[in-house]
Structure formats: structure tokens, C-alpha cells
């Protein structure tokens, strides 16, 4: 090897370019803009239907729910759960189903990686877009919930941040699923085996204390439980120290899947 070659060898410093991540994010933004009307409709209407039906329909039958020795209306109880649950669905869908299409069906990842974008940047671009979509749905449903009087505290604005972190967490999780899935069938399984139970059993629609004793620790370990718990506290303005644990869980979980997803994508694509 001649000298100039040796000089340009990797010097061991971490090679990470923000513009690589931004490029991937902008690709998604471009695609989103092209079909934004349809996309927005999906983002807005579906969760609003669920919220309206559960809060104002079922809520009328259920009566008040106890949280921390305070009775709150069922609609107030359930709204933050639905907001955060939707954030999960959107980033999970984008980063598993959407990512799998890009990876396998259309081989777009091959093209992106042929440009100077590293796998680390590609994965973060994908997850950030999943989180962006989570943030959009969070904002939309949160606005609806606020207008209909289901958010009682100004702290509620903080739910935007919780939605974003939830988006990062499930974006990373979804990307792992996309990286190891042999076909779309397995991804469907991720929705039914992971998405659906999390959506219903993470203290979203009923307090975890109503579950049988043996199931409660499991529910507490579920990743959606913690953002829902924080979002609910922010919506009602009832903040307490125990939330710090949930916050710690959320922040760690938000970024723990990302390096795993990067590694699995490398194993699949860089052969």
C-alpha cells in the first residue's frame, strides 16, 4: 500500500454523518409529501374514531376508574393510552412493514447503501422517520383529546415527547423484525403477537391492578406500559416520583433496539 492509501485508512474514530441520517429522513418526507392527504387521513381519523368510540361510547357504561386513589372518568383515563398506543402502531408499522418493503421487495436499501450512507445512519434514518410519524399521530390525537376536554393539565403537552420516545422504541423494535423476517407473513405475526397484546394489556384500556396477580408483573415489564403511565400522569397533572423509573425504562428502551437493528441489518445486507 502506498502512503496516501495508508493515510486514508480508518483512524478508528467513529465514522458517523448526520447528513446520511438526514438523507434517509428526507426520502421518507418526500414520499410522505407525495401522498400526504391519504396519509394524514389515516394518521388522524383512525385513532380519533377509536378515541371517540371508547371514550364517549364505552366510557358511558364503565363509570370512573381509580388511579392512585383518585377516581377519574373513564374517557380521561383511556385517552392518553390511546394517544401513546397509536404512536406505537405508527412507528411499528413504518419500521417493520414499510422497512421490509424497502429492504426486500423494492431493494431500496441496496441503493441507499450504494450511496455514502452507512448502515448505522440508514437504521437511524428509518427509526427517526418512524418516530416522526409517531409524533404526528400523537400531536393529532392529543389535539383532539384536548379539544374534547380529556386532557386536564397543561403538563399534557409533554405527551408529545412521550409519543416521540415511544416512536423511537417501537421503530427500533420494528426494524429488528424487518431485518430478520423471511417474508411478510412473519411481520403480520409481529402485529398480532406483539402489537395487539401490547396495545390492550399495557394499562391502556384498564388499570394493570385489575389483571390477575400473576399477570401484573408481566404487564409491568411490557414496554408500552411505561409511556402510557407517564402520559396519563401528564394528562391528569398528577406527577409523582415513581414516574422516574418509567422514564428511565422508556429512555433506555428507546435506544436499546437501534444498535441491535443495525447489527442485524448488516448481517443480512452486507455479505
Amino acid at each position: 500500500m502506498n502512503e496516501s492509501l495508508a493515510k486514508r485508512r480508518d483512524t478508528g474514530r467513529i465514522d458517523f454523518r448526520v447528513r446520511g441520517v438526514a438523507g434517509v429522513w428526507l426520502r421518507h418526507y418526500t414520499a410522505f409529501k407525495a401522498g400526504w392527504l391519504i396519509e394524514m387521513t389515516g394518521i388522524l381519523l383512525e385513532p380519533i374514531f377509536i378515541l371517540a368510540a371508547v371514550a364517549f361510547g364505552i366510557g358511558k357504561l364503565v363509570g370512573d376508574v381509580e388511579i392512585r386513589d383518585n377516581g377519574v372518568e373513564y374517557a380521561v383515563f383511556v385517552a392518553p393510552g390511546i394517544v401513546v398506543g397509536n404512536a406505537m402502531w405508527h412507528s411499528l408499522f413504518e419500521c417493520s412493514w414499510g422497512a421490509f418493503r424497502r429492504l426486500q421487495t423494492n431493494r431500496i436499501y441496496d441503493s441507499i447503501l450504494a450511496a455514502p450512507v452507512s448502515m448505522r445512519e440508514l437504521a437511524l434514518g428509518e427509526i427517526s422517520w418512524g418516530a416522526t410519524r409517531a409524533l404526528m399521530t400523537t400531536a393529532a390525537v392529543l389535539a383532539f383529546a384536548t379539544i374534547t376536554g380529556l386532557v386536564e393539565s397543561p403538563w399534557g403537552i409533554g405527551i408529545l415527547g412521550i409519543g416521540l420516545l415511544t416512536g423511537f422504541m417501537f421503530g427500533g423494535f420494528g426494524l429488528i423484525a424487518a431485518a430478520i423476517a423471511p417474508s411478510t407473513h412473519m411481520l403480520t405475526l409481529v402485529f398480532t403477537m406483539v402489537g395487539t397484546p401490547l396495545f390492550f394489556f399495557s394499562g391502556t384500556f384498564f388499570p394493570i391492578s385489575t389483571l390477575p396477580n400473576w399477570a401484573q408483573p408481566i404487564a409491568w415489564a411490557l414496554p408500552l406500559t411505561h409511556p402510557v403511565r407517564i402520559a396519563r400522569a401528564l394528562a391528569t397533572g398528577d406527577l409523582y416520583l415513581g414516574l422516574l423509573w418509567s422514564m428511565l425504562y422508556l429512555i433506555v428502551a428507546a435506544f436499546v433496539f437501534y444498535p441491535i437493528a443495525t447489527r442485524l441489518l448488516r448481517r443480512r445486507l452486507l455479505v
Binding site: 495508508a6 485508512r9 418526500t30 414520499a31 431493494r107
Partner: protein, 301 residues
């Protein structure tokens, strides 16, 4: 521009590229001609920094490809065997977004997108979805995309495979223009015609090895002679003809029902004594070179 020495690619126990060495000079169009499974894609993917080098040396424009795959991708354009076009965005956005991957700002990316659309005759299709393009247009768009970043070296993996002759000719025309603009091109193909028309120099690959290297004319002259004889045995005469050819001492390869016979020292083979066959002569081509090197047809699956 490119220097490979003892380059090896293994997939598990399987060796796809078995220690090849070659050099590509600045400004030339360099071809890799070989049948399916020859190791062309494996080699080009290593050169694109997309596939780790198992062993050997590989330098691209002064950058060590074994240590620094990303820096390579800063300076090259890649046209992979699968188009990898983005169906979720328009034809023009496919190009603009590709500029974003290179870190171009919005205005520059748009300007470059329009330039290459224009050059590759896709201007009127800019707003269409890539799904609505014909095969030839898709391929041209993929090639156009590789030029958005103004690369010094472009790597094309089978640029015209699967295209009808008309579309193939258009791609060739445009590649010829680009070649004259000074960009270095490395391309793979399994069409000898394509290699002969576009490539200044080429290597012939089979089963992970380079079997011959040189300009198309050199290869033909050296390995097949100026003219080859085609010997078509008459009904029931195959074995007798084969024996006569063996006795004649000329290098012979059998393909289908025809023997191809190579002359000596550039002269055509003298087969006047061979009986029981129809004999004709034609100019030798790269296909004959491959046949002489391997005893097989280039198009064999």
C-alpha cells in the same frame, strides 16, 4: 483508478472470487465478461464498498477499499443488477433524493436531477411513477441516478441485461457519450457484443477466476485468431469428423452440433482434408474466445 491484487470473496465455505488481480486505468471503460455465477457481481460489490473483502488488496482512486468502504462510495456511482428504484416517489424525486443521500442541498440536488433527466432523455417522464416506465427507461433512470453525484468512477452491473435490442442500443449510445466525457467505467456483462462495442479493455471471468485479459481485439487475435472455422458434420458423421479434427491438430471446441476450429498464428485453419462436413469461415468474436478458454458457451446457464 482501480487496483486489485489477489482479491478473494468467500460466502461461508464457498469461494465466489478466487484471488483475481487486475487494474483499471483512469478514463477507460473496463469490462468483465463472464457467464452466470462467474463472480462478476461479487467483484463489483466489493469494489462498491458494499461487500466486505475476504482477502487481498483493493484500491479505488487511492482509497483502500478493504479498510474504508464508505469513502469509496463518496467518489463512485453504482448501477446494481437490480434497479432498486423507489416506487413511492416520482422519477425526478428518485434522483433528487439520491442527491440527498450524498449530502447535497435541496437546490443542488434538484438541479443535478434535472441535468441527468435531460441527458438520459427522461425529461418528459419526471413526474411519473417509476412503475410506469418501460424496462429500458427504468435502466436508464438507474444509470442516471448513478451520475447525480458526479462520480469519478461508475460501476455498472449488467447494464443492459433483459432489455430489448432497441433499448439496449440507446443505453449503449449514452454510455458511449459518457465514456467520451472522461469518466472511468467498470462494467460487467455477459453479452460479448456489448463488451466488444463499449470496452477499451476487459477480463474474461469464469468460476471466480480471470481467464484472459486485454483489449477485445487482442483477446480475439490471441485466443481465437482472426477467423474461426465452423464445421457442421453431415448426418451420422459426427464421430468421424471429430476424429479428423483431432488429427488435424487444431484447437477445437464442440458446441451443440457444431465444431468451432481455431486457426494457427492468426491464419484460418486448413480443413480441406476433412470430409463428411460442411465448413464455413467467419470473423472470430469474444464468444469464440470464451469457448476456446472454457469449452463452454458464454450463454450457458
Amino acid at each position: 483508478m482501480v487496483r486489485a491484487a489477489g482479491l478473494v470473496k468467500k460466502f461461508g465455505d464457498f469461494t465466489a472470487v478466487e484471488g483475481i488481480s487486475f487494474e483499471v486505468r483512469r478514463g477507460e471503460t473496463f469490462g468483465m465478461l463472464g457467464p452466470n455465477g462467474a463472480g462478476k457481481t461479487s467483484t463489483l460489490r466489493m469494489m462498491s464498498g458494499l461487500s466486505p473483502v475476504t482477502s487481498g488488496e483493493l484500491g479505488i482512486d487511492g482509497i483502500d477499499a478493504t479498510a474504508n468502504p464508505r469513502s469509496i462510495r463518496d467518489v463512485i456511482g453504482v448501477v446494481s443488477q437490480h434497479d432498486g428504484l423507489d416506487p413511492d416517489i416520482s422519477v425526478r424525486d428518485n434522483l433528487t433524493v439520491y442527491g440527498f443521500y450524498f449530502g447535497l442541498d435541496r437546490d443542488t440536488a434538484r438541479r443535478r436531477a434535472d441535468e441527468v433527466l435531460d441527458f438520459f432523455d427522461l425529461k418528459t417522464r419526471g413526474g411519473d411513477s417509476v412503475d410506469d416506465l418501460s424496462g429500458g427507461m427504468r435502466r436508464r433512470l438507474t444509470i442516471a441516478r448513478a451520475f447525480v453525484s458526479r462520480p469519478r468512477l461508475v460501476i455498472l452491473d449488467e447494464p443492459t441485461t433483459g432489455l430489448d435490442p432497441g433499448s439496449r442500443n440507446r443505453v449503449w449510445e449514452q454510455l458511449a457519450v459518457l465514456k467520451n466525457s472522461g469518466v472511468t467505467v467498470v462494467m460487467s456483462t455477459h453479452y460479448m457484443e456489448e463488451a466488444a462495442i463499449l470496452c477499451d479493455r476487459l477480463v474474461i471471468m469464469d468460476e471466480g477466476r480471470i481467464l484472459g485479459a486485454g483489449t477485445p481485439d487482442e483477446l480475439i487475435q490471441e485466443l481465437a485468431g482472426a477467423e474461426v472455422a465452423q464445421v457442421r458434420p453431415e448426418e451420422g458423421q459426427r464421430d468421424s469428423v471429430q476424429r479428423q479434427l483431432q488429427e488435424s491438430g487444431y484447437e477445437t471446441a464442440e458446441l451443440g452440433a457444431i465444431f468451432t476450429v481455431r486457426g494457427l498464428n492468426g491464419d484460418r485453419a486448413d480443413l480441406s482434408k476433412v470430409s463428411g462436413a460442411r465448413i464455413s469461415y467467419r470473423a472470430a468474436n469474444l464468444e469464440d474466445v470464451f469457448l476456446m478458454l472454457t469449452g463452454r458457451d458464454l450463454r450457458d446457464e
